[in-house]
């Protein structure tokens, strides 16, 4: 936005911002210090997991995460983002405790269920809270890439630390104790989140019915328009990253490299998350030449995965590819948030998470199937395909400047200004489409006398209507801007401006009518 370009964040603001975000950084670190991750497969085998059990657990995730993701995002928007993040930490702590205490597959499934709840609550909400804090502290989303980049670095350091210490702890103590040791870390993460001062932006737009909020959330998510390529790119980048973390080791298996490769390979992939975080906050990433270079590197890396048989080259390509898609994901996430109003932010971000998940499951199955049949090298072509799509989207989406918030389309708001039953039906023999119940004149009802009261009704109606309509009506009718001017400022067509203004006035009219005429009229 224009503010962003003009206003550099002042040093004292930046210091205040850092102080305010500190608990979130701490929480991100503690949450990712999952000591049990490196020993999970070993532990699972110990309590009787076989291939079918692992499959069933994957099924638990694939149900729990999408089912809870959007509702938890909407809960975060309506209730409290901090509250949802604290609940997420508790779910993760519960998952680690139950997991460590699990005597069998069934109880471990319960642990997996709570881990799914953690992911659902965490994803979308964390970024939303960071974004709104930035807006509140600095008045722009300019620093978003830098802050999220830093979060990724923190997460990556925690993951590498846990990968290194988890194995050692399990060796020194026991597998179960390693799980239990994670619990206080997660509780501490919850405490850190409690210390965080939550931004209130989404509150300002509250007081909408749940049904409307859900409708706006899904509509924002699924509508055609500027948001669609941004969401597609988010999904393509996440698909590649998840794919590398999930299937990257398969290449090592196929190349029959010695076991010693696996440790550095995993360390390389997890540190690529942090590397990507640093890269993604660089300004050149969103220049046309920078975006084109990243797109080229992505496709080149996937081609290496198809063609090369040199382990070092394959590992290098995987690490670079992962770092690049993480880097790309950061400015894309900012574009997503720039385009979404605060009131539905976490819900929409979580919805993108759900879409990613829903895309990843069939993609993973396909990669698994192709690897089984013709080898992992050929499965690499699937990654090439995704990288090409991702690359094209990177070149088209990243160089565009973040624009004014995308408005929700008018399907719902474009409802008729007067209820249809106030007109004669189309098949009326005499006067189809003419008034059956004409509006009552307000002049005799004392609008002049009670102007102040009526204006208060207008204000309430403005507060209750969707923000896209409100914005136009405030600029046009409260501030008295001329027609067309507002459309230019909002980046919408003059026709859209008029439709929104009309819909907004219609809502205000109904409210004033109810006020003046009593409950009889609408």
């Amino acid at each position: 936005m224009a503010v962003a370009a003009e206003k550099r964040v002042a040093v004292p603001t930046r210091r205040a911002l850092r102080r305010r975000l500190a608990p979130l950084y701490a929480a991100a670190f503690l949450q990712n210090l999952a000591l049990w991750v490196p020993i999970e497969k070993l532990f699972m085998t110990g309590i009787g997991f076989d291939a079918a059990g692992v499959g069933l657990m994957a099924a638990v995730y694939s149900v729990v995460v999408p089912v809870f993701e959007v509702p938890s995002g909407v809960l975060a928007d309506r209730w409290s983002r901090r509250g949802v993040l604290v609940l997420a930490c508790l779910a993760a702590a519960l998952s680690a405790a139950i997991g460590g205490a699990s005597p069998n597959v069934a109880t471990y499934m319960v642990s997996a269920f709570f881990l799914g709840i953690f992911f659902a609550m965490q994803s979308g909400t964390f970024e939303s809270v960071v974004y709104d804090t930035l807006l509140e502290e600095t008045g722009s989303s300019d620093d978003f890439e830098r802050v999220i980049g830093r979060v990724r670095v923190v997460e990556s350091v925690a993951l590498v630390t846990s990968a290194l210490t988890g194995g050692v702890l399990a060796e020194l103590l026991s597998l179960r104790v390693t799980y239990f040791l994670t619990v206080p870390l997660l509780v501490a993460a919850g405490v850190a989140v409690c210390l965080f001062r939550e931004p209130r932006l989404h509150r300002a737009e509250e007081s909408v019915p749940l049904r409307r909020q859900l409708a706006t959330t899904y509509r924002t998510l699924l509508q055609r328009g500027r948001l669609r390529p941004v969401i597609a790119l988010t999904i393509a980048a996440a698909l590649t990253m998840q794919g590398m973390l999930e299937f990257g080791p398969l290449w090592l298996v196929a190349l029959a490299v010695p076991a010693i490769w696996y440790g550095p390979h995993w360390a390389g992939l997890t540190s690529a998350l942090g590397l990507g975080g640093l890269l993604g906050s660089q300004r050149w990433v969103t220049r046309r030449s920078g975006a084109a270079a990243l797109a080229g590197v992505m496709v080149a890396c996937t081609l290496v995965l198809v063609g090369s048989t040199a382990p070092a080259v394959v590992v290098g390509a995987q690490v670079v590819l992962t770092a690049v898609v993480v880097a790309v994901g950061i400015p894309v996430t900012r574009r997503l948030h720039d385009a979404v109003p605060s009131a539905v932010r976490a819900g929409v971000a979580s919805g993108v998470g759900t879409l990613t998940w829903l895309t990843f499951v069939p993609f993973a199955l396909l990669v698994g199937f192709v690897s089984d049949r013709v080898g992992v090298g050929d499965a690499g072509w699937l990654f090439v395909a995704v990288a090409v799509v991702c690359g094209v989207l990177v070149i088209t989406v990243l160089p565009t400047a973040p624009t004014a918030p995308v408005a929700a389309p008018l399907h719902e708001e474009a409802a008729p200004t007067f209820p249809p039953d106030r007109f004669l039906p189309d098949d009326d023999p005499d006067w189809p489409g003419h008034w059956a119940v004409p509006p009552a004149a307000w002049a005799g009802l004392g609008t002049e006398v009670h102007d102040a009261e009526a204006a208060a009704e207008v204000r309430t109606a403005l507060m209750e209507m969707p923000v896209e309509l409100r914005r136009v009506m405030v600029l046009r009718d409260v501030e008295g801007r001329p027609p067309g001017d507002v459309a230019r400022a909002l980046g919408i067509s003059p026709r859209d401006e008029q439709l929104r203004l009309h819909a907004a006035r219609g809502l205000v009219r109904s409210r004033v009518a109810r006020h003046l005429e009593g409950r009889r009229a609408t």
């Binding site: 489409g433 003419h434 004409p438 002049a443 102007d451 207008v458 009718d477 205000v508």
Partner: protein, 90 residues
């Protein structure tokens, strides 16, 4: 019944006319369309009332000040105004 419907096939129907009120007040309608609406308004008390209500809504909204609605949406407003000023400068 307050309306006095016309007889011609091009007669504006009330249900359609009320959706044109904002465009009519903005003065962005083609001349022909505007003329038809004015003819309809002359004959139809219901639509005249609807137009009067529309004008009242605009007048009432005009009584509000920027400060009245500032707390409705403070941040979005600030961002919006900045964009607005920027757009004007260009």
């Amino acid at each position: 019944m307050n309306g006095e419907p016309g007889t011609g096939g091009t007669e504006e129907r009330c249900v359609d006319l009320v959706e044109q009120l904002t465009a009519y007040l903005d003065g962005t309608l083609p001349v022909e369309e505007r003329r038809r609406i004015e003819q309809h308004l002359e004959r139809c008390e219901g639509c005249r009332t609807a137009l009067a209500q529309w004008r009242t809504v605009v007048r009432l909204a005009g009584r509000l000040t920027t400060a009245d609605v500032a707390d409705v949406d403070p941040l979005l407003r600030d961002r919006l105004m900045a964009t607005f000023l920027e757009a004007r400068r260009r």
